[in-house]
Symmetry: C2
Subunit: 184 residues, 2 copies
DNA sequence: ACCTGAACACCGTTCAAGT
DNA sequence: ACCTGAACACCGTTCAAGT
C-alpha cells in the first residue's frame, strides 16, 4: 500500500485527479471506463488500483470527510451545543450534496460491511451522534429523534442540491431543522 | 390512440402489467430490454408503444396520480385546511416513495416541457398548491414557504422509503411537517 | 509488480425488413 | 399497422498475456 512503483503511483494520482473532476460533474455513477480513458490508462489499471467503485469514491472524498470531522471538534469547542450541531449539519449538507448520488452511496455503504466508504464514514457518524447528544442534553433539540434518522434526513435533503440547486436545499434544511428544535 | 389492433392492444396490456411489477421491484431505472423480454415482446415493440421511458412511467402511474388528485378534493371537503394538507402530503409520500427513483423522475419531468410524466403531474401540483394556500390562509402553516419547495422536500423524504424503509421515511416527514407549522 | 486490450454479458436506441 | 431482430455504440467486470 505505502510502497508503490513510480509508474503505478503516477497512474493512481492521475486516476484520482480525473475521477474527482468527472464525479463532481456527473455524479458517483459516472462511467469508470470514461475515467480510465481520460486518465490515459487501461480500464484494468483502474480496477487494479480501485477494485470497486466504492474504493474509488472513498479515496476521492476521504479528505473531505476528515475535514468534516475536524470541523465538528472545532464547533464543539467554540459554540453552544445547539448551534454547533445545526451548523455542522449545514456544513455536512453543503459538502455532501454537490456530489450527485453521494448521499445514497454513503447510506448504502454504512449498511454494507467491509465497504471502504462505510468505514470512512463511520467516524463521521460517531461525531454526529455526539454533537446530537450534547444538543439534546442541553434541551434545544427534541429528545425523541435519533441520529441515524437525522443523518438520513439531512443526506436526502442535501441530495436535492444537485437537482433543484443549493438554495432550495438550504431552505428545506432550515424547515427540517426548525422541526428538530424543542418548542420553547 | 383509442383504436388499436387486437394484437397491439394485447401487447400493450402485457407490457404495462410486466412493467408495473418490474418497476415496483427495481425502480424506475429498470431495464427496458428486460421488461420487453418478460412481456414476450420484441424490444422495438416496447419502443413503439412507449417511445421514451417517461411515457412508460407515466402510463404506469397515471391511475395512481389521479387517485391522488381525487383524494385531495375529498380531504378538502371533509377536514380542516391544516389537517387536509398534512394528510394529503403523507398520502402522496406513501404512494410515490415506494417506487425507487420516482420522486427524482417526477421532479425532472416537471421541468422538462413536453414530458408526459410532467403533464400528468401538473394537475397534482395545482391541487397541492391550493391545499397549501388554504392551510396558510387558515394560519396553521408558515406563510413563508412555497409549494414547489414543499413538494421537493416531500418527494426527497418519501424517496427514503426505498432505502431505509417506510417507517424511517414517515418519522422524518413528521419532523419536517412539524417545521412547517406556525408556532402557536 | 504492474499494465494492457480483448472478451463476455449486459444496456438504450434505431432501423430495415418482414407480415 | 404492427412486430421483429440485427446493428450500433455504449457499459461493468474479468482474465490471459505482456513488460
Amino acid at each position: 500500500m505505502t510502497e508503490l512503483r513510480a509508474d503505478a503511483r503516477r497512474n493512481r494520482e492521475e486516476l484520482l485527479d480525473v475521477a474527482r473532476q468527472v464525479i463532481r460533474e456527473q455524479g458517483v455513477d459516472a462511467s469508470l471506463r470514461d475515467i480510465a480513458r481520460r486518465a490515459g490508462v487501461g480500464i484494468a489499471t483502474l480496477y487494479r488500483h480501485f477494485p470497486t467503485r466504492d474504493d474509488l469514491i472513498a479515496a476521492i472524498i476521504g479528505e473531505g470527510i476528515q475535514r468534516l470531522n475536524a470541523r465538528a471538534a472545532e464547533l464543539a469547542e467554540t459554540k453552544p451545543p445547539g448551534e454547533a450541531f445545526e451548523e455542522w449539519l449545514s456544513y455536512m449538507a453543503s459538502r455532501i450534496g454537490p456530489y450527485h448520488g453521494l448521499p445514497g452511496a454513503i447510506h448504502d455503504a454504512l449498511t454494507t460491511d467491509g465497504s471502504p466508504l462505510g468505514i470512512l464514514c463511520a467516524d463521521m457518524m460517531d461525531v454526529g451522534d455526539r454533537l446530537l447528544t450534547r444538543a439534546q442534553t442541553d434541551g434545544v433539540i427534541r429528545p425523541d429523534v435519533t441520529w441515524p434518522d437525522i443523518f438520513t434526513a439531512v443526506a436526502a435533503i442535501s441530495a436535492i442540491a444537485t437537482q433543484s440547486g443549493p438554495d432550495t436545499s438550504t431552505r428545506i434544511l432550515d424547515v427540517y431543522l426548525d422541526g428538530l428544535r424543542t418548542n420553547p
